[in-house]
Structures are given as structure tokens and as C-alpha cells.
């Protein structure tokens, strides 16, 4: 039994009280004296040359304070890509400048090219309508294949191509992989699309810029998943100011899913305007702007081939992918289709030979970047779909073909052919657990019941592994990362024994305030109520790379654990002095420092008090105070894994697919709060079901966004998802971090889409529609019906 409020307890989320009673404090809830408002004027065409922007009439409109255009920001730096990727031929990727506001050209519908600052938002908007922009329409580059072969219509003229890079992973494997294919007894080929998604965080992006002319300090309140990263990008790269002159505060943030990792031009623009006007400037995106300008996710077109023996043993895997980066390189956009995608292409299997090729393409669409799972859902989807197709071609049961190829527990640590070393796992255990909790044996009976009701039932599986806990800095440095990916924490014990923990992780819905308090309280043997978690403010936090890539617990949580251990170590020194014992004889347990083998003891509170009121204290050898900071850089990625089963019911008259059940057997390593982990899995699988059945960001051939509102962009609703069966009892604790934790934030979104699509194909095959080998996501009723009725 876990201790109440300690590690392993399903402690209720303390932050929910303020969220559910309307007391959350989001960026838009913050209002500064004298605040003005920004409205960004966005391109209505996908591609156009800016000839002239006449702001004269607009500037004379009521309430207008200033109007800035791309010209006003040319002296500033570009918003950089965080990873430098090299092409197969050794060339560095093409890195066109991403300016604060579009300059020279507009490159996607929604590309901001002017900003009006006025006394009120309505006035700013009214004035923006009077800006006379002379923009020459250019042909839009939308389709990736066409973009690659086009040498005249270029998104960025100065780079001479629409290709950002052509990446091979691992290039040295290529010949051996091709050779294996040349002699393979069986080859399964599948062409598929990983559909483009709009993140749709509940809170739209917002920024409030402030400048203090007395000190020259800037302050930015913004919707960020990583305030320090924002500070670095804005200060060091874009605006060119010392980092110590900028404070970035990300208060309560209503969801991000990746989209709020990145620095966007609006943030620098409000800061610059605040300085020019000497007034705070606020901008809050409307939902329409979110659709147009938040970084989208996924958007891959892939050909995947799997070479096997006649009885389904995997011999080699080869993929060719076109990945859309949109009009500009967003901060993680070059890492997502490469090192977050190619490196996990081995999945949980022992496939000996793998080669991945990815061409990234500029198009006149919004930038595309990491979205929950980032690259790993794309890899998992390709892999689990081709395995499913292969099993059908060879007449092998879906579970059987997976079981046959899964790595076995004795193979860990396992060096994959695509560059990673899996530290630990037991993939058979999760598949066995799934077989049990999903009652796979009872499927036929359930299918018969569905059939009686006129419905086609299908079963889809997915066994997956991902790499998260991002990331070991030296490794990613070799792979092209331009930042380190460690994290930090300060544990500040107050004189009265309660604790503030400053963490570099950022909670935008995850429940960190609860879980981190559990971890610290558990390790110190004190009540969780005595621990407060502070996050989201660069002026309070030592440093931190924020939250994404399922890193908060395994990286930031590990930093916190190290800091707590330093507190304990110092506490032992203080206790040794007070108890007149040798430091080596002091034991710390359940909040008490005691001399081994005696009943002499001091409570944690007494030690803390002594540290701040050092009357009886070894001042000659020890500083007063009880506060420790630790930085933690992981030795490796972590490798959560799992086995998912989805059952669908398909209405053969309409093609409508209902998720009948969804079961997850996950290995997240040690689990800190099972309830929160369940919630993460529910949410992730919900997003995966959304991708599989409903969501699809669509541009027409002119680059106009067809899914610009919730009237056309289909989000999953409660009635689209089932009651989930979630298990995380098959734990193989991570071997290289102090918590043994692997991370669970992205798992659901990674493992679920292929299970859903596999189930739909299964339902169709069992009903005799064996000509349907694939349907692209979203598997909408219209697409299913068309597939069933294709000649």
C-alpha cells in the first residue's frame, strides 16, 4: 500500500480545485495598468509577394497607437530551428529565415504581416481592416510531391528548392537493407498518409508584453510549455538582448500538446511594441487564428516495406517518407520527422535491418511541428499497419506475428539497428496482460452478437515502444540538437519545515503540482500538503527545458529527486552535530534523522529550524540554510512500451465506425500516481482515436484552409470514445533514472491510431471485403463506404 499522498497513491489533483472553480490564472486573466491591445493582420492568400503596405489611413483611426509591419523587424534575428539535420549527401538542411512578421512574401494563409496596437482590441481590429496591402498572388505550393519537383514556385526563393533536407537513417545500413529485400521470401508494401492535425489546446495562444524603462527589463506573460526556452529563443536569437533582461512567465496554461513549445512571432512583437510604446501590450488569439497559425502536427506521406520469411519472421524494413514542415521551420520541426521518428522505427521488434528515408518539404501551409507523440506516432502507425497487412498476406494471426518478432526480456539492453539502446522492457508481459484484460478469447462471441445487430466487428492490435524522457544532451548533441535537454530543480526548505520546489517542468494540465509534491513528500517522509510546486517563471526557477516528450517526471522529476537527496545529505550533517554523533551513523527514515541503534532522533522540522536559526550548528564547516539545486541530464532516453487492443463496430450501410472497446496494457516503469497516469492514457488514446476517425486539417489546392473552425474540423467528443480498460501493472522500471520512471504523456496518442485502423480493416476482412487493404486516416464513414464499394 502506498502512503497517503506518497509515491504510488492516487492522490486527487490539488490544482483541479482552482481550475474547476474558475480560479485558474491564465495569461488573459492578467491585466496590467495602461495595457494596450494587439491585432495581427494575417494573409488571406497562401503565397504572395508583398509590394507595399499602406498604413496611413489605419494609423489615423481612433485609438490606434502604432502599426508595425515586417519592415520594422528586419533588423531582428530569425526564429531558429532547434535541430540541425544533414542530408544524405552531407549538406546541412536549408534554413530560411523566419521573421517576426512576414517580410517580402506571405507564405501561408494566416501568416501575420502587420500588427496594430490600439487602446482596445476592437479599435485595433477596425484599424487593421483599413490597412491597404498591395500583395501579388503567387501560385501556392501545397502538395508535397509536386513541391519537391517544382523548381519555379518556391516557398523560399533564396534556397532554390522546396526541399529542406533528404535524410537517411542509418545511411550505412542502406546497402544491407536493400540486399535483404532483394532476396526476401516475402515483401509487404504499404502506402499511407499520416493525417495533418490541428492541436486545438483549449486555451488559445496569448501573450502580454511589458517593458520597464527604469531598468530596461522586459517581461513576457505567455502560453508556454517551457518559459526558459522561450526566453532563450527571444533574447538570444530573435530580439538580441541579454537573457537577464527578459523574464518569461507562463502562468496557468490550458493545454499545449506541443503547440506551445515553440516561439511564435506574436511574442516578440508584443514585447517590441511594449518597449516602443512604453505600455504593456496584450494579444489573445481567437480560435480562428489558432487554426491558422498554431503549429500543426503529423502530415507525413509514407511508403513502408517489410521483408519477411514465409512464416512471418521480420528480416528487414525500409521506409520512404515525405514530411511537411509548412512555410517556415518551427523550433522542433526538423527533429520530429527525423530523430523522433526514424530512431523508433524498430518498434518492440528484433528486425535486424532497417533503413529510413525522410524528405522534408516546404509548402505554403502553416508550420508543422511536434504534436503529442511527435514522430513516434508516425513511425508506430507505419510499422503497425504494415505488420497487420503482412499478417493478412501470410495468413498469420495478428497477435502471433507480433509475438514471434517481439524482443525477449533476455535481450535487454538492446541495441536497435536505428541508433537507440533500449534499457529494459518485457513486451511479452504486456501482450499477455492485454490478452487477458481485453478478453481477446471472447472476441468471436462479441463479433457474433454484433453481427446479430447488423454490425461488422473487428479487432485491431498494436504493440509499440517509444523513446521519450527527452533527452540525453550529449547524444542529441551528436544528432544535431542545438540545445541541451537536461532539467533542474531547487528544493527550498523553509525555517518552519515546509517546502517550495522550483521545477523546470511546466504543467499545462498534467497535474505536476500534485505528483511532484507526492515525490518530494514521500522521499522526505513529510505530508504532501507541506510541499508546494512552483513552475512557469524564469525569475523563480533555476533553469528548465519545460514539458514535452514525456520528460517532466523522468527528467525534471529526477532533478528534483537529486535535490531532495542533497537536502537529506545536508540534514544528516546537521543532525550529526545536534545529536553529537558521527555523520555516518545518522539514518534518515520517515521524516526523522536518528542515530543508528539508538532512540536519539531529530525530526525533519527540527533540522530545518536549526538550519535557519543556527544556534547549535556546525557553522565552521556548514553553511546555514536548507536549500539545494540539482541539474539532471538523463543517461539515455526512456522506453515506455505497451500493447493495445481496439474493437470497432462498423455499420455496413453507412460506413460509420464506433469504438466498441479499447484496452491498454502499458509499461511506464514505476508509476507515481496511478489515477493521473490513467488520465494521461485516456487523453492520449482519445487524441489517437480523434486522429484515426475524425481529425483532418485540410488545405485546398490554393492553400486555403478548409478546416478553419470546429464546424469542419472534427474533434473527438465524449460519445466518440469508449470506457477505456487501462492497466500499468507490467512494470520494468527504467534502469537509469532515480525514480525508475519512463513517462506516460504521449503513449496513448502513439499506440492507439494503428489499433483503430487495424480494427476497421479487420472488420471489413471478416465480412468478406478482402479487397480493402488500407484506408487512410481519418477513417471517416464516407471513406469506409467508398472503400467497401470500390470495384
Amino acid at each position: 500500500m502506498p502512503k497517503d499522498g506518497g509515491i504510488g497513491a492516487s492522490t486527487k489533483r490539488r490544482e483541479d480545485i482552482r481550475f474547476l472553480t474558475g480560479k485558474g490564472r491564465y495569461t488573459d486573466d492578467i491585466n496590467l495598468r495602461g495595457q494596450a491591445y494587439a491585432y495581427f493582420l494575417r494573409s488571406e492568400v497562401a503565397h504572395g509577394r508583398i509590394n507595399h503596405i499602406d498604413t496611413k489611413t489605419a494609423a489615423a483611426m481612433p485609438g490606434v497607437l502604432t502599426i508595425l509591419t515586417g519592415d520594422d523587424f528586419v533588423a531582428m534575428g530569425g526564429n531558429p530551428a532547434g535541430w540541425l539535420i544533414h542530408s544524405r549527401n552531407g549538406d546541412p538542411m536549408k534554413e530560411p529565415k523566419r521573421p517576426v512578421l512576414a517580410h517580402g512574401k506571405v507564405r501561408h494563409v494566416g501568416d501575420a504581416y502587420a500588427v496594430v496596437i490600439a487602446e482596445t482590441y476592437q479599435q485595433a481590429r477596425d484599424a487593421a481592416a483599413c490597412i491597404d496591402a498591395d500583395i501579388t498572388d503567387l501560385p501556392a505550393v501545397v502538395d508535397m510531391a509536386r513541391a519537391l519537383s517544382d523548381s519555379t514556385n518556391l516557398v523560399h526563393d533564396e534556397i532554390g528548392t522546396n526541399q529542406c533536407f533528404d535524410w537517411g537513417w542509418i545511411e550505412d545500413n542502406r546497402a544491407a537493407v536493400d540486399a535483404a529485400f532483394a532476396t526476401a521470401p516475402h515483401i509487404t508494401t504499404l502506402q499511407l498518409i499520416n493525417n495533418r492535425l490541428t492541436p486545438n489546446a483549449m486555451e488559445p495562444r496569448a501573450s502580454l508584453g511589458d517593458f520597464d524603462p527604469g531598468t530596461g527589463d522586459y517581461k513576457l506573460y505567455t502560453t508556454s510549455q517551457n518559459p526558459h526556452l522561450h526566453r532563450l529563443l527571444i533574447a538570444a536569437f530573435v530580439m538580441g538582448m541579454p537573457e537577464n533582461k527578459l523574464t518569461v512567465i507562463a502562468p496557468d496554461v490550458g493545454g499545449g500538446f506541443g503547440s506551445k513549445i515553440y516561439h511564435y512571432g506574436e511574442e516578440a512583437a508584443v514585447l517590441q511594441a511594449a518597449k516602443l510604446l512604453n505600455r504593456p501590450v496584450k494579444w489573445v488569439a481567437e480560435r480562428s487564428e489558432s487554426f491558422l497559425s498554431d503549429a500543426h502536427g503529423r502530415d507525413h506521406v509514407t511508403k513502408i516495406e517489410l521483408a519477411t520469411t514465409k512464416d512471418g519472421e521480420f528480416l528487414a524494413l525500409r521506409t520512404e517518407t515525405m514530411a511537411n514542415v509548412g512555410a517556415y521551420l518551427s523550433n522542433f520541426s526538423t527533429a520530429t520527422p527525423t530523430f523522433l521518428h526514424g530512431t523508433v522505427m524498430a518498434g518492440p521488434y528484433k528486425t535486424p535491418l532497417i533503413y529510413v528515408n525522410v524528405k522534408t518539404v516546404f509548402t505554403n501551409t502553416a508550420p508543422v511541428d511536434a504534436y503529442r507523440g511527435a514522430g513516434r506516432p508516425e513511425a508506430t502507425y507505419s510499422l503497425e499497419r504494415v505488420i497487420d497487412k503482412c499478417a493478412r498476406e501470410l495468413g498469420i494471426d495478428q497477435a502471433e506475428i507480433r509475438r514471434k518478432n517481439l524482443l525477449t526480456p533476455d535481450q535487454f539492453p538492446y541495441q536497435t539497428p536505428v541508433g537507440l539502446v533500449y534499457d529494459t522492457g518485457n513486451y511479452q508481459a504486456t501482450l499477455d496482460k492485454l490478452t487477458d484484460i481485453a478478453d481477446l478469447a471472447g472476441f468471436e462471441a462479441r463479433r457474433a452478437t454484433s453481427a446479430k445487430n447488423g454490425k461488422l466487428r473487428g479487432l485491431g492490435l498494436s504493440t509499440w515502444v517509444e523513446a521519450c524522457g527527452i533527452a540525453p544532451s550529449n547524444l542529441v548533441g551528436v544528432l544535431g540538437a542545438r540545445v541541451g535537454l537536461f532539467d533542474a530543480a531547487t528544493v527550498r526548505v523553509n525555517a518552519t519545515g515546509n517546502i517550495s520546489v522550483m521545477t523546470g517542468a511546466h504543467s499545462h494540465g498534467q497535474g505536476h503540482e500534485t505528483v511532484f509534491a507526492q515525490i518530494v513528500a514521500d522521499r522526505l517522509g513529510i505530508p504532501a500538503e507541506s510541499v508546494d510546486i512552483v513552475h512557469g517563471d524564469t525569475s523563480k526557477i533555476p533553469f528548465g527545458m519545460g514539458s514535452y516528450g514525456s520528460r517532466s517526471l523522468s527528467v525534471a522529476g529526477s532533478a528534483m529527486t537529486k535535490a531532495v537527496d542533497k537536502i537529506i545529505a545536508k540534514g544528516k550533517k546537521i543532525a550529526a552535530h545536534m545529536l553529537e554523533a558521527s555523520e555516518n551513523d545518522i539514518e534518515f527514515k520517515d521524516g526523522s534523522f536518528s542515530v543508528a541503534g539508538t532512540d536519539k532522533a531529530k525530526t525533519f522540522g527540527e533540522i530545518a529550524f536549526s538550519a535557519y536559526v543556527p544556534h547549535n550548528y556546525p557553522l565552521e564547516t556548514l553553511e546555514p540554510g536548507l536549500e539545494e539545486t540539482a541539474f539532471y541530464d538523463p543517461a539515455n532516453f526512456t522506453y515506455p512500451a505497451g500493447a493495445y487492443a481496439c474493437e470497432v463496430e462498423l455499420d455496413p450501410d453507412t460506413g460509420h465506425v464506433t469504438i466498441a472497446s479499447f484496452a491498454c496494457a502499458d509499461d511506464f516503469g514505476n508509476v507515481m500516481n496511478p489515477m493521473i497516469v490513467n488520465g494521461q492514457v485516456h487523453g492520449g488514446v482519445g487524441q489517437g482515436i480523434g486522429q484515426a476517425l475524425l481529425e483532418n486539417t485540410t488545405y485546398d489546392e490554393n492553400g486555403q484552409l478548409l478546416t478553419g473552425s470546429f464546424m469542419d474540423y472534427a474533434m473527438p467528443r465524449a460519445s466518440d470514445v469508449p470506457y477505456y480498460t487501462v492497466d500499468h501493472s507490467c512494470n520494468t522500471p527504467c534502469t537509469h533514472n532515480p525514480l525508475g520512471a519512463k513517462g506516460c504523456g504521449e503513449a496513448g496518442a502513439i499506440g492507439s491510431p494503428p489499433a483503430v485502423v487495424n480494427a476497421v480493416i479487420d472488420a471489413l476482412h471478416r465480412a468478406g471485403h478482402s479487397h480493402v487493404t488500407h484506408i487512410d486516416m481519418p477513417v471517416s464513414p464516407a471513406r469506409v463506404w467508398a472503400a467497401m464499394n470500390q470495384a
Partner: protein
């Protein structure tokens, strides 16, 4: 949103007068307000119909039930159930609770969205649209996508629904908006069957004559065997091709017959 003035008349005559001055009617606002927020409409003055008692309520009159033009969907769902269950069920499937508590039958009928639900009920029931100046048969009222027989400034004061012996509305939802991708309203009267379909056609809600004839002869799903609609005039968009919609018309009508 652009600035606007809101007028809240207490009776129909004042509302008519205000609208005659060039103002626009505001009923539940579920269509109009989102349009205004996007600055796609700038009505200047809005005349709220919600405070006019004579436009509210569900009552039984001769030849059917009359629903006041400003009656919200939720009220219809609740109060029409005992007179006309199929109509109440339709109202209960419109949007979400917030939409149903604000949106009104008059607004829906006046707007005549090609994917809206009420037009199918009105046409499928042979309803009479009542306005401040006249009564219009549903067959003459719906004139194509967002087009009606209403004159400038004319207000829908009520809709009179003859109550059939049997009826049902089956809607196949567009996955994002949950409006009708295709919705079929089937009503059996003593003198024949009416079938109205929404969501499918480029010309808005329409009656399917062949299905009506077949079902009037035999009100059973099998009467529809072999009947299909041409895809030529069907809507084709992100959510379904014209062919798919034409197919769904048949499926939805069949299911409505089974549910009636």
C-alpha cells in the same frame, strides 16, 4: 464583432416596426452571433424576439400544433413530446444543450441552412409557416440553400405542424458540426406519406417523390428496395461525396420508416 444596438421590444408590432426600419431580427443568436463575431455581418441594430410572449410556446390548435417562432429547441423537445413525439425528438438532437436552450425554430426556419433539421420536419409534415403578414405552405416556403419565401423584414411568428399518424426523423451527423450530413423526415398521414431530406442537396431541403409514392402504397422498408436518388445535385464536400450522400438518403429514409 462590430458595434450594434440591441432593441428588446415587448410585442410583435414593435418588433415589426423596428425591423421595417432596417434592423435585423435576433432570435436565439446561434447562427447570427457567430457570424457577427467573425465580422461577416454588421447588422447595426438587432431586434430581439426573445421577450415577445406571443412568439413563445407550444400549443395544440385545430389541424395540428403551433410552435411560436421564438420557442427554443429545448422547449419544443419538452413540450411537443406529448403531441408530436417525432418533432420533439428532432428538436432534442439539434446541437448541444446550450444551442437547444438558445436556438429557436423561427431562426432555424428563417435561416434555412441546407443541413438544418427543422426544415426537414416542416417540409416532411406539410407545415404552415406563419408570419406577421401571411401563412405560407412549407412546399412554397423553402426555396433552396439559405433561401426562403420570406420578404425583407418579414418575421416568422410560428410554425403549424399537422400531426401525422406515424413519423420519425433520422439524422446521420456530419462528424465535426453534428448538423445533418443527411437527415430524413418521414411522416405517414391518412392521405399519404411525406418524405423530406435535409443535408444532402445543393438546393436545400427537398421531398423525395418516388419514396413517398412507394411508401404511400406500402409503409415498409422493403417498399424502398431499388429506389435511388441521383447524385447530380448532391453536396460534395470534405465530409462526403455526392454519391455517398445520395446513398445515405436511401439508408436514412429506410431507417426513419423502421423507427416511425
Amino acid at each position: 464583432m462590430y458595434d450594434f444596438t440591441l432593441v428588446k421590444p415587448k410585442n410583435l408590432a414593435d418588433a415589426v416596426a423596428a425591423i421595417a426600419d432596417g434592423a435585423q431580427a435576433l432570435s436565439g443568436g446561434q447562427t447570427l452571433l457567430p457570424t457577427m463575431k467573425q465580422r461577416l455581418a454588421d447588422p447595426g441594430t438587432l431586434v430581439s424576439l426573445s421577450g415577445i410572449p406571443e412568439l413563445h410556446g407550444v400549443c395544440k390548435g385545430d389541424g395540428g400544433i403551433i410552435i411560436g417562432g421564438a420557442t427554443p429547441h429545448a422547449v419544443v423537445a419538452r413540450e411537443a413530446a406529448k403531441y408530436y413525439p417525432a418533432l420533439a425528438a428532432l428538436a432534442n438532437q439539434i446541437g448541444d444543450p446550450a444551442v437547444r436552450n438558445r436556438g429557436t425554430i423561427g431562426g432555424s426556419i428563417a435561416n434555412n441552412d441546407p443541413s438544418a433539421c427543422y426544415p426537414a420536419a416542416a417540409l416532411g409534415s406539410g407545415a404552415i409557416i406563419q408570419t406577421n403578414t401571411r401563412e405560407i405552405a412549407a412546399d412554397d416556403y423553402f426555396r433552396g440553400m439559405f433561401e426562403t419565401a420570406l420578404h425583407e423584414g418579414e418575421i416568422v411568428t410560428g410554425v403549424k405542424f399537422p400531426v401525422p399518424q406515424k413519423a420519425a426523423y433520422i439524422k446521420f451527423v456530419q462528424p465535426a458540426s453534428r448538423f445533418a450530413l443527411v437527415g430524413a423526415f418521414v411522416a405517414q398521414f391518412a392521405d399519404g406519406v411525406r418524405v423530406a431530406i435535409t443535408g444532402a442537396s445543393n438546393n436545400g431541403v427537398f421531398r423525395w417523390a418516388e419514396a413517398e409514392a412507394a411508401l404511400s402504397a406500402n409503409f415498409a422498408p422493403k417498399a424502398l428496395m431499388g429506389l435511388t436518388l441521383p447524385a447530380d445535385d448532391m453536396i460534395s464536400d470534405l465530409h462526403g461525396t455526392a454519391e455517398y450522400r445520395a446513398h445515405l438518403c436511401g439508408v436514412m429514409v429506410k431507417r426513419a420508416v423502421m423507427a416511425a
